[in-house]
């Protein structure tokens, strides 16, 4: 609408501000907690703003001395990056061809529906069989084992998302490419995948986040620093006799950084994909 009344404009801006506050307030509080001293955090009434900025917890978590909380945290950070990256990459390797095949053969759609149907099962139902399988193959408390479990969650999701992404790419383009003499790999590499790049980037972000934030299976299938992931490590911080809420908040801030980095990286791919011009040949 070109002409909006003043009241309507104020209403829109107020609502936008409200949404922004709702989204940003927990993040802001997380950061404030991570730099407040324990005294400030446990004071009554609560000190919303710390007297002094306390960055000691960051140095604690980044410290590398043996058997320190920092070493455990850093190894779990490494495990999380390893597990989430492996699972995401493997899911894309499986999901890109599978999504394309499902998009081009609609009669196969029911198989995808069936796989998505397994999502209806609660993770608890699958935990025992998965545990037994991992134990059988000696993959308990192992980053590869956990990545494999995540792959089984991510692959259907990524395939389904990518199928929806391939659907609007006209089949004529593939026909034209094959008449023009392209082999299957050339057709995918030069024509189809560049057009699907935005949705591939989206799938990558969501798959990475899903793997990064997963807690339940990680808790069940890992037991020490060899494979324990960040979500479990943060839970451990709260599990002791004394819970340092500031420390948990600090770990939360650090845990949020890698996904943000992936998001920023992918945003470029998203934007470049979108500016490449419409799909309408």
């Amino acid at each position: 609408m070109e002409h909006q009344s003043l009241i309507f404009r104020i209403f829109i801006h107020t609502m936008a501000l409200l949404v922004a506050v709702v989204i940003l307030a927990p993040l802001a509080w997380l950061f404030i907690m991570s730099v407040s001293s324990s005294v400030d955090l446990s004071a009554k009434p609560l000190h919303w703003w710390p007297e002094t900025l306390d960055f000691s917890r960051y140095s604690l978590l980044f410290s590398q001395s043996d058997n320190s909380a920092g070493a455990a945290f850093m190894s779990s950070l490494g495990n999380s990056i390893k597990v989430a990256s492996m699972a995401t990459i493997a899911a894309l390797v499986v999901g890109v061809p599978a999504g394309w095949a499902a998009s081009r053969n609609p009669q196969l759609g029911w198989t995808l529906g069936g796989v998505i149907g397994t999502y209806m099962l609660p993770p608890v139902a699958l935990s025992v069989p998965l545990y037994l399988i991992l134990a059988k193959f000696g993959l308990l408390n192992n980053v590869f084992g956990l990545a494999l479990v995540y792959l089984s969650i991510l692959a259907p999701f990524v395939t389904w998302l990518l199928k929806a992404g391939f659907d609007p790419i006209p089949r004529d383009l593939e026909d034209a490419a094959s008449i023009d003499g392209a082999r299957l790999d050339q057709m995918l590499r030069i024509v189809i995948l560049p057009l699907a790049l935005p949705v591939i980037a989206t799938a990558l972000i969501f798959a990475f986040l899903l793997a990064w934030d997963e807690f339940f299976y990680a808790l069940l299938f890992t037991s020490n620093q060899n494979a324990k992931t960040l979500t479990v490590a943060i839970a451990d911080l709260a599990g002791g006799r004394v819970s340092d809420y500031g420390l948990i908040a600090t770990a939360g801030v650090i845990a949020a950084l890698p996904p943000v980095a992936v998001g920023i990286l992918m945003q470029r791919a998203l934007i470049s994909g979108l500016t490449n011009g419409g799909v309408k040949g």
Partner: protein, 359 residues
């Protein structure tokens, strides 16, 4: 020399047979138009020539080589799609050169070939752009350039002009005709537009229900349609079809008093008259149809007049200069040479010779 031969091509999807035995023989340099309403199987036939689908039965031979089972990329055929199917992420130059790139032609040769094609199609200034930045007509030119640059044995066009507006369509039509005359290539062109078919083709195959109804030059198809379907499909406004009844020594047209003196078979006959065959001037030995002017539609160069006869109505294309009024009585004349007769039952053409009264 015949380039493309189709022998007994059939295509079935389950129990549904969309093509019921197509036989065609295409000479080198010919421009064949497959013409038909949607669903008649013309695009299916084109897809089988290109290799995008395989016939259920029959043989496709290009330059003496059987193409059945050969992958599209190995057929030496180029195709222009209705949607243009340009690669949106590649530049115009790369789009045009794509076929050469896939065939590992070196960059200098490729650039030269692309530049030549672009020059011929007047799109040299667009080579660095992406397809998304081009207008419909420009995209169409790029699509033609992409097909042309490889110098294939056969060009396929799948309703290439139907996404363009009327003016551009006419422009591109002439352009295609010019290119065909210049390059002398062999073309199979699918369309539902009879004007495109008439203007472009060296031969037209009118298709109906998965079969070729008539194959011939545009003039043959228009003037001597072999069936009522072809007669009614070709021409705008469409041919007038009048039922007849046998009277002594001839056929009475409809319920009018007009009698066509002729030798006719015993079966029931319908008579077709092209609107432009009807004249206001008397024609020696011609038939006279008398009626009342019911509707006048001026198209510019001519007026399309609906004439109410006794119990029937016919359409005539008359010069715009004729002064006519609604409701006036009008006599129209037609040369019996320009009548087409069809069997009412089978719809097939029946040759009928007029019997001229002795002078």
């Amino acid at each position: 020399m015949s380039t493309l031969e189709l022998h007994g091509i059939r295509k079935s999807y389950g129990a549904l047979e969309t093509l019921k035995g197509i036989d065609l023989d295409l000479q080198n340099g010919e421009f064949l138009v497959l013409l038909g309403a949607s669903g008649c199987g013309k695009s299916t036939l084109l897809n089988m020539i290109s290799g995008l689908s395989e016939p259920t039965a029959g043989e496709i031979i290009l330059d003496g080589r059987t193409l059945n089972g050969v992958h599209p990329k190995d057929r030496d055929i180029a195709m222009v799609f209705q949607s243009y199917a340009l690669y949106p992420n590649l530049t115009v130059a790369r789009n045009i050169g794509f076929g050469l790139e896939m065939r590992n032609v070196d960059l200098t040769t490729r650039k030269k070939a692309v530049a030549e094609a672009a020059e011929m199609l007047q799109i040299s200034h667009l080579l660095d752009r992406k397809p998304g930045d081009l207008s419909g007509g420009q995209r169409q030119r790029v699509a033609i350039g992409r097909a042309m640059v490889r110098k294939p044995k056969l060009f396929l066009f799948d309703e290439p002009l139907s996404n363009l507006d009327a003016k551009l369509r006419m422009e591109m039509r002439s352009e295609l005709k010019r290119l065909h005359q210049m390059l002398g290539v062999t073309v199979v062109y699918v369309t539902h537009d009879q004007i495109e078919a008439m203007t472009l083709a060296t031969r037209i195959a009118v298709m109906n229900g998965g079969q070729i109804e008539q194959l011939g030059t545009p003039a043959e198809i228009y003037n001597r349609p072999t069936s009522r379907f072809v007669a009614e499909f070709m021409g705008a406004p469409p041919m007038n079809i009048l039922p007849t009844s046998a009277v002594a020594g001839g056929l009475r047209l409809g319920t009018t008093k007009t009698v066509w003196r002729c030798h006719h078979p015993a079966s029931e006959i319908v008579v077709g008259i092209r609107p432009e065959a009807l004249k206001t001037k008397t024609i020696a030995g011609g038939l006279r149809l008398s009626g009342r002017v019911e509707l006048i539609e001026l198209t510019g160069p001519e007026q399309i007049v609906s004439l109410a006869l006794d119990g029937a109505s016919i359409t005539a294309s008359l010069p715009a200069e004729e002064e006519l009024r609604l409701g006036q009585a009008l006599d129209l004349y037609v040369d019996t040479e320009r009548l087409s007769a069809f069997d009412a039952e089978t719809g097939l053409r029946v040759e009928i010779t007029s019997e001229h009264p002795k002078a």
